[in-house]
Symmetry: C2
Subunit: 391 residues, 2 copies
Amino acid sequence: MALFSKEEFLSRIKRTKESMDRAGVEVLIAADPANMNYLTGYDGWSFYVPQVVVLALEDEEPVWIGRGMDTAGARHTTFLDRERIIGYPDNYVQNPDRHPMNFVADFLKGRGWERKRVGLELDAYYFTARCHQELVKSLPQAAFVDANLLVNWIRLVKSDQEIEYMKQAGRIVEKVMRTAIETIRPGVRECDAVAEVYRAQVRGLPEFGGDYPAIVPMMPTGEKTSAPHLTWTDEPYRQDQAANLELCACRHRYHSPLARTIYLGPKPPPRLQELAGITVEGLNAALEAVRPGEICESVELAWRRVIARAGFEKESRIGYAMGLNYPPDWGEHTASLRAGDKTVLQENMTFHMIVGMWMEDYGFEASESFYVTGDGCRTLADFPRKLFVKD
Amino acid sequence: MALFSKEEFLSRIKRTKESMDRAGVEVLIAADPANMNYLTGYDGWSFYVPQVVVLALEDEEPVWIGRGMDTAGARHTTFLDRERIIGYPDNYVQNPDRHPMNFVADFLKGRGWERKRVGLELDAYYFTARCHQELVKSLPQAAFVDANLLVNWIRLVKSDQEIEYMKQAGRIVEKVMRTAIETIRPGVRECDAVAEVYRAQVRGLPEFGGDYPAIVPMMPTGEKTSAPHLTWTDEPYRQDQAANLELCACRHRYHSPLARTIYLGPKPPPRLQELAGITVEGLNAALEAVRPGEICESVELAWRRVIARAGFEKESRIGYAMGLNYPPDWGEHTASLRAGDKTVLQENMTFHMIVGMWMEDYGFEASESFYVTGDGCRTLADFPRKLFVKD
């Protein structure tokens, strides 16, 4: 039933407390849904109301605080004892006169923590300016510390069980990508192709089902390939155009993104084929550069050297840490594969490496999700790295 | 091509400015993706990085500010002229040393607005505590005003074109619900049933495709019906259990949710059938109570009277304003159908009315999305209101 052992949660909590101690945080209030899941197991689509996990250095285990109706879900998904699952009354919800963070502050007072150094995730998606204001107002004696990304950095190195779920997502995403390539053809509406992708994501495999990825499928074509975050329309795909397929699969909130490019026509332009060749060669070189002890920027350098030989350059990063997450992003916002990032790679770190080259009127992109092994890296999916051609 | 006329955007902007004026706001910084869309048309899955629409009383039209790579999407989806679409450099993204809100502050300074009364959406999902801090730090001479929900309240009354998109979503959701009812049966894995729902949502109809709803499909069964926000598993549905179907369809970001209950077996318990009968009767009575000039709490009272006759009561609200939105919620966070809400109903307001009755070990729920007409209301979907029985 449980997705992770209690020992694994206790190990996560121990490492979080060590990091809190170093950062001078006595009580951490984690509002990032992925961090809440990481520390307790909590999984539910309830992050549209304020909810937090509170972890104090002096306390054994964390406390989950959320909306009363979601305590049943917390009992179902977390490893916590019942007394560590606390619901606020429903009249705190979307009420101009009171805010759930007043309730959280009262909880801290009840524990005698109102003078502590309190860590907050100041740039977490669902920790709004008002959440912050209400805590500051309700806890005038506390000292607040920015603990943004504190838990995210601990999430960077995965356990074997986490890697296992990511491998399962990798197996699902192979099927998702095959589905996209088989479905897209001139005349098919974008929405109909995306629908088959969604279906494949959620069905998963006969052995295990799929979860919802943190980002919707992105399958732009034509001029929209240069507008990277537009979603689909009900227009048909057209002949002699390339389409980017930025897809993903998810298993128990663990992601495995995968990107490829498909050309809709029998004869891709030679320059597109050449660009695809160089880009894949650079991707291969960067993957080969990954090993424990190496630093993130060296991986990017391996890519850069290959494309420079062909006269290309690319300014943006070529990858980022990724794993457990919720909408709107599967990225962990910690290490990046880019110039200047000195993060030392360790076994069981997981990244999404995505390279795209965009010319005036054509382009190619491809990606791999991988984990760092004892002597290199292994991709989560096994899928040909090339320009796919649909004739 | 454009989803709404320029005149419609100008009318929205005019009403927003009137509301700003009443609230003492000279410059509004809107960060809620739905409000950004409402004021400009912007639609993209880019809200995982900070982005805003800035509207000043003294300026004709708003300005869109977002990540550089998303300006192409803004040119594609908004009605704005190019000079009103401003991208910040990519080194503002997830960089501890600088924040996109510093860029937004510089923009305000460039316009000479740094001493204005600046309205912020302090409780909007993607307006983090750090976003607020950086604006306050970078604009020391500004006076900040909480303008949370200011645009949301204007969104409450829809235009005819908005209603048209919601009706289209209503037609899609009929198909989505039929798909769910046809697919769920004992032995089918939850993920496989949800996959068919997703497919139906996104395919839409031959005449128009579907968009991604702001909330994932919720189809809990058994004990999980009492944990309302858990998503699906890969366990099979079982015989002689009820399942809640909380589904939705979306068209151009406009939603039409619909909920029903299905019993998986030929013989639903008589007490469940009785409960379904009373609940539907209450739902019908509440829908009949809707008319322009009536207040929200009266609609709830009509429901409450019906169920009181059967000896039931229900504390929580039975509906909320709903329409244009993005994850994680399709609700507008303004008017609610509940005791104490004195909002006066007007033609073209849109709500999701959802009633659920939960006993110790069984329950029933149903919902309708509707718009207020000249003399009552009309539901967006046409779907039988009853307990569905799968034999």
